[in-house]
């Protein structure tokens, strides 16, 4: 299971004179539900489009599914992509969408798709445009999963959905990831800016900021290697034992997000608390200069690298 589903080296994409993505180096291992997070304009969609072969890099390179060029027949067979806002052809019926997808792909599990739509209560003769937002999203997802991909790529899949539809959509995705297929379920890479649900859904995090990878790693490793220290504001600047990512300071009290494990000593007068994924992500987003990245190459270990503040 050492294969990387997406591997990028110095990857960049320029539109005119603007770099949407640059110097992006990352390796997302198989077998994860990886979340690609970042503010609007960070380059999330660009990165996904490059990985699925919808765009050509301006610099560097990217491979998928263990070294395949994006857009190659083998890569296209192994990857299913659901674009932003889960688009469907509004004037086609669900049956037509199935027919179309079956004929445009080398592999399509018609029986699964029909059974799934029946489960969802989506009538085959209903026009896609007449379905609810949640049903349209589920239809797009069903078409993607019926292709039996090894990698499922989702761009902002739940941004437009109501809470119930969002829950059900993610349940389908995660059940697919938990599948008992030959590869142990489909690997998932999804972009999102809904931070609150991230911790439950993702076990791998990539934080993009201003076109660059700021944080990458397994969620458990990231959480285990960060602590929130709370103590007197007057001493906040003196803390130097471990790298400080972000400081929040009141008149008397300060909170330092530091790269430290539960075994690291806590200075006298300070309290150490574990951090959640949302808190950690927000802290890094507020400190675009700070980074937590795996070492050179594709190692999974996060090393303390440069840090601001």
């Amino acid at each position: 299971m050492s294969m990387n589903v997406i591997e990028a080296t110095g990857l960049g994409k320029r539109y005119g004179s603007t770099w949407a993505l640059r110097e992006c180096t990352l390796a997302i291992p198989a077998g994860h539900v990886a979340a690609l997070v970042g503010p609007n304009g960070a380059g999330k969609t660009t990165l996904l489009n490059l990985a699925v072969g919808l765009a050509e890099p301006s610099a560097g390179g990217v491979t998928v599914l263990g070294g395949l060029p994006p857009g190659s027949p083998a890569a296209l067979d192994g990857i299913a992509f659901v674009a932003q806002d889960t688009p469907v052809y509004k004037n086609l019926s669900a049956a037509d969408m199935l027919h179309l997808t079956r004929n445009l792909n080398r592999r399509f599990d018609q029986r699964y798709a029909e059974a799934r739509l029946a489960e969802l209560g989506i009538p085959l003769n209903r026009k896609a445009g007449k379905l609810s937002g949640g049903q349209q999203a589920q239809l797009a997802l069903t078409l993607a999963l019926a292709r039996r991909p090894r990698l499922l790529v989702l761009d902002e899949p739940v941004a437009m959905l109501d809470p119930v539809a969002r829950h059900d959509f993610m349940a389908t995705v995660l059940a697919a990831a938990a599948g008992k297929g030959e590869a142990g379920g489909v690997s998932v890479v999804l972009s999102s800016h809904v931070l609150t649900e991230l911790e439950r859904v993702a076990d791998y995090l990539i934080l993009l900021s201003q076109g660059r990878v700021q944080v990458a790693g397994e969620v458990d490793d990231l959480l285990a290697s960060h602590r929130m220290l709370t103590g007197p504001a007057a001493e906040a600047d003196k803390y130097a034992e471990r790298p400080v990512v972000h400081v929040r300071r009141g008149e008397a009290q300060a909170h330092l997000l530091v790269r430290a494990t539960a075994d690291d000593p806590v200075p006298p007068g300070w309290e150490a608390h574990p951090v959640g994924l949302e808190e950690l992500t927000l802290a890094y987003l507020r400190e675009p200069g700070a980074a937590a990245l795996p070492g050179p190459g594709r190692g999974r270990h996060t090393q303390p690298s440069e840090v601001t503040q």
């Binding site: 489960e119 969802l120 389908t172 938990a178 599948g179």
Partner: protein, 182 residues
């Protein structure tokens, strides 16, 4: 939420897709699956990591008798589909329960309860409760409010177990009492 719903017939519109993408054999399995006596829930606001919430709920169910020897825990895929959580989170929780000796995995079947949590006999519990109520009376007399009592108790409990350097795992009588207080 009903885990049976996960596999088999979904509900119109809002089915959480138990039979989801992964099942390569036939989408909705017609085979009736033995339901687990318990159903997990998540409290997003608790700040407790998801896998630990699952562990705690199993321990709690064991203490209260919802789960007995030989009972089956919900299947990983059913938990994933009903809570929309990462499969590795469920696996981690189940591994933790196995490490604690509470459950055992049977290949191809699922995870089953194989030990109960040490229960203190009822008369002893009653006596312990009485002495705790005595302490609560004293604390109240000293002017401590409810939050103050909980804070003091929690901190004393932590000190107590830290001093015993984790020779015995937390649980059993002590947490039973915490519940009584809170």
């Amino acid at each position: 939420m009903d885990i049976d719903k996960g596999i088999g017939k979904g509900r119109v519109g809002v089915s959480p897709a138990g039979a989801g993408g992964g099942d390569r054999s036939t989408a909705p399995s017609g085979r009736a699956t033995a339901a687990s006596p318990i159903e997990f829930r998540l409290d997003a606001a608790s700040g407790v990591p998801t896998y630990l919430q699952l562990v705690h709920q199993v321990e709690h169910a064991l203490r209260l008798g919802y789960l007995k020897l030989g009972d089956q825990l919900p299947k990983v895929r059913d938990v994933v589909a009903s809570l929309a959580i990462n499969p590795n989170t469920v696996l981690k929780a189940y591994k933790e329960l196995e490490t604690k000796g509470l459950t055992a995995g049977r290949p191809g079947q699922g995870t089953f309860i194989q030990a109960t949590l040490s229960q203190v006999a009822l008369p002893e519990l009653t006596a312990l409760r009485r002495s705790l109520l005595g302490w609560l009376g004293t604390a109240d007399g000293a002017g401590l409010d409810e939050d103050g009592m909980v804070a003091l108790f929690t901190s004393a409990l932590r000190d107590f177990y830290e001093r015993r350097s984790g020779s015995r795992t937390r649980g059993g009588a002590a947490s039973g009492e915490t519940e009584g207080v809170a």
